[in-house]
């Protein structure tokens, strides 16, 4: 580690972002994710048609200049429905992941910082949740409480929280005996100060990566349940219920199923690559090497 490398990397926060964008996969993935986010936020501006406007004369048309991805069995514009579906998908992914993160992180902090008994109980709870078969659990909840966005978010929060719990707890356990944490205690820092200034900043990296990796899974849950008719209810568009409708007409008009499957595949790839690039970019050893 020479002095020269020390001067070259001055501001690690921006350096992380720069490293992320400078790698080909990281750059492409960030671009794709940004496109999805813009489509979701600006859906009414971006979508060429009203996603729910029925046009029976134009039903099940293939891609054309007027309808880039064609129309569905009711003559609705598929591209517009996908764009509005992005809104649904990202909204659920965002709120669901945020809820899972909040619950998982709180439990992880308590388990990591608390005593042995509290830790054991929380680990038991989270391992139990993880062992539930997700689809059956989700279907059971929907059967009892009915299909709604709120139900979807609750399902996602419960099923994803153990992932965050585990990462946060393990990281806190490692940090708890880290020298710089003991050093802070030796200066008389309170528990709160240690948690806020030394633990949280060192938790953010691994959590960001996990979020990026989890979003495709959450989108998958929403799409899957919507495909089974237990998620987003028509006429509101979702990638999952579009795929389900397209599946019904797959012999007459295969382009409907293809169009609905496309964003699911693309978003999964984009978020997964973003997560992987983020993990590489956040790795301090890589920071030194450059």
């Amino acid at each position: 580690m020479s002095n020269r490398t020390a001067i070259a990397t001055r501001a690690p926060r921006f350096a992380t972002l720069r490293r992320l964008l400078s790698s080909p996969t990281g750059g492409l993935a960030s671009l794709a994710v940004a496109a999805f986010v813009i489509a979701a936020i600006a859906a009414p501006l971006v979508a060429p048609y009203d996603p729910n406007a029925i046009n029976p004369i134009n039903r099940m048309q293939g891609p054309s200049a007027a309808h880039w991805l064609g129309t569905d069995q009711l003559g609705r514009d598929l591209l517009s429905r996908i764009i509005f579906g992005t809104r649904t998908a990202l909204y659920i992914a965002l709120v669901g992941t945020a809820a899972a993160l909040g619950v998982g992180m709180a439990m992880g902090m308590i388990a990591g910082l608390g005593g042995k008994v509290v830790d054991s109980v929380l680990v038991l709870i989270n391992d139990s949740i993880k062992s539930l078969p997700l689809v059956l659990f989700a279907l059971a909840l929907v059967t009892i409480y009915g299909a709604s966005i709120a139900a979807l978010i609750v399902i996602i929060a419960i099923s994803m929280a153990p992932g965050y719990f585990r990462v946060v707890r393990n990281q806190v356990l490692v940090l708890r005996s880290a020298d710089f944490v003991i050093a802070a205690q030796s200066m008389g820092a309170s528990r709160l100060r240690v948690a806020a200034t030394h633990m949280l900043p060192n938790l953010i990296g691994p959590i960001l990566v996990l979020i990026a990796m989890d979003i495709p899974a959450v989108i998958g849950i929403e799409s899957g349940l919507s495909f089974l008719g237990q998620g987003i209810q028509p006429p509101k568009s979702s990638w999952g219920n579009m795929l389900s409708e397209g599946y019904t007409y797959v012999r007459q008009a295969p382009h409907i199923a293809v169009a609905a499957g496309l964003p699911i595949v693309l978003s999964t790839i984009a978020f997964t690559f973003l997560g992987e690039s983020l993990r590489d970019a956040l790795d301090p050893r890589r920071a030194v090497r450059r």
């Binding site: 580690m1 490398t5 020390a6 990397t9 001055r10 690690p12 042995k116 008994v117 054991s120 880290a178 020298d179 710089f180 003991i182 050093a183 802070a184 205690q185 030796s186 200066m187 008389g188 820092a189 100060r193 200034t197 030394h198 900043p201 060192n202 301090p284 920071a287 030194v288």
Partner: protein, 333 residues
């Protein structure tokens, strides 16, 4: 006599062991005793070397002195503030008046904080000194011979020796009366070691700070300490002025340590393994490795007693040894 800066009084440290179920069923030992009962003191402006093999409890003693270990008996007095057991208030006072340096300097700096933030963290923690923190950071870095622009760097961007200097600067931030330095020369090459020791000596001279200097390195200890305490299995077995320790060591363990340092072959090394803390030998705990061990040593644990002015030792046979006054090289049986 002036009041010591650090006064450790019959300190006892035990760590809980075993699984939750085992503890509930009351099976097996529930704790392991790291420090059975340790007393030592550091006079103002002086440096006490705490010496022992790895696992002897040196680091634990250093941490326990500021309440960072589970204390189950005894008390600590730093700068006149007495703390014992679980009451956090006196410990908070003590941590304000003392500072700690860790064995692994780089690891003791938060990787996400700039060195400037790290150096002034004690000020941020204690709330006082709200003036210009950047200025104070530059001042502290200057004290240890680092340029002010180090304040904007991160721990992974500096060398081990520089990281060590940063921890020295941090330790001095609150102008403490006592610095507990745990292996401050570990992992440094000889020239950097020398620089650091000179820096510490210089700072002590200028600021009048006392050091508890924890190390296993006798050469380093000889260079910087005024007094030396030798630790074995969590007990002080000998304590004396540094010169006496090297010229007339009284405890067979001290003698073996000094011989091991001088030995070219294997003849100087101490035979046998360090006994497990969970399974301490009865009587004198060094007898399993001691060339002088007799029946008395197995029956009765020796007490720390004074054999000369300022020279204490815990060995049944220490007198016979000092009488012989061997000059560091005496063939053992």
């Amino acid at each position: 006599m002036t009041r010591p800066v650090l006064d450790v009084q019959s300190l006892r440290v035990q760590y809980p062991v075993g699984t939750l179920v085992g503890r509930l069923l009351r099976r097996g030992p529930r704790e392991v005793t790291i420090l059975p009962e340790v007393s030592l003191s550091v006079p103002p402006g002086q440096t006490l070397g705490l010496i022992g093999e790895s696992g002897s409890g040196k680091t634990t003693l250093g941490r326990a002195a500021i309440g960072l270990a589970p204390i189950s008996g005894g008390a600590v007095e730093i700068a006149g503030i007495r703390a014992s057991g679980g009451d956090p208030k006196p410990w908070a006072q003590i941590r304000k008046r003392s500072a700690m340096m860790f064995q692994d300097a780089v690891a003791s700096l938060d990787p996400r904080m700039t060195l400037g933030q790290s150096v002034t963290e004690p000020l941020a923690v204690q709330g006082g000194h709200d003036g210009n923190r950047r200025e104070r950071a530059a001042e502290l870095l200057g004290l240890v011979g680092l340029a002010p622009d180090f304040a904007d760097r991160y721990p992974h961007q500096i060398s081990g020796g520089q990281a060590r200097r940063v921890t020295v600067a941090r330790a001095l931030a609150l102008e403490p009366e006592l610095v507990i330095a745990d292996e401050p020369t570990a992992g440094l090459d000889l020239s950097v070691q020398g620089e650091l020791l000179n820096l510490l000596g210089d700072l002590q001279h200028r600021l009048g700070v006392s050091f508890l200097f924890i190390t296993h390195n006798l050469a380093v200890a000889r260079h910087v300490t005024d007094r030396i305490a030798i630790m074995y299995l969590g007990r002080i077995v000998e304590e004396a002025p540094t010169r006496t320790i090297f010229d007339a060591p009284a405890h067979p363990y001290t003698r073996a340590l000094i011989r091991a340092r001088q030995a070219t072959g294997s003849d100087g090394l101490i035979e046998g393994e360090v006994p497990s803390l969970a399974n301490r030998p009865a009587g004198c705990e060094f007898r399993t490795r001691c060339p002088l061990a007799t029946g008395l040593c197995a029956r009765e644990a020796p007490q720390l007693r004074q054999i000369a002015g300022g020279h204490s030792v815990s060995c049944h046979h220490a007198d016979a040894q000092s009488a012989a006054r061997p000059k560091n090289k005496q063939p053992t049986g």
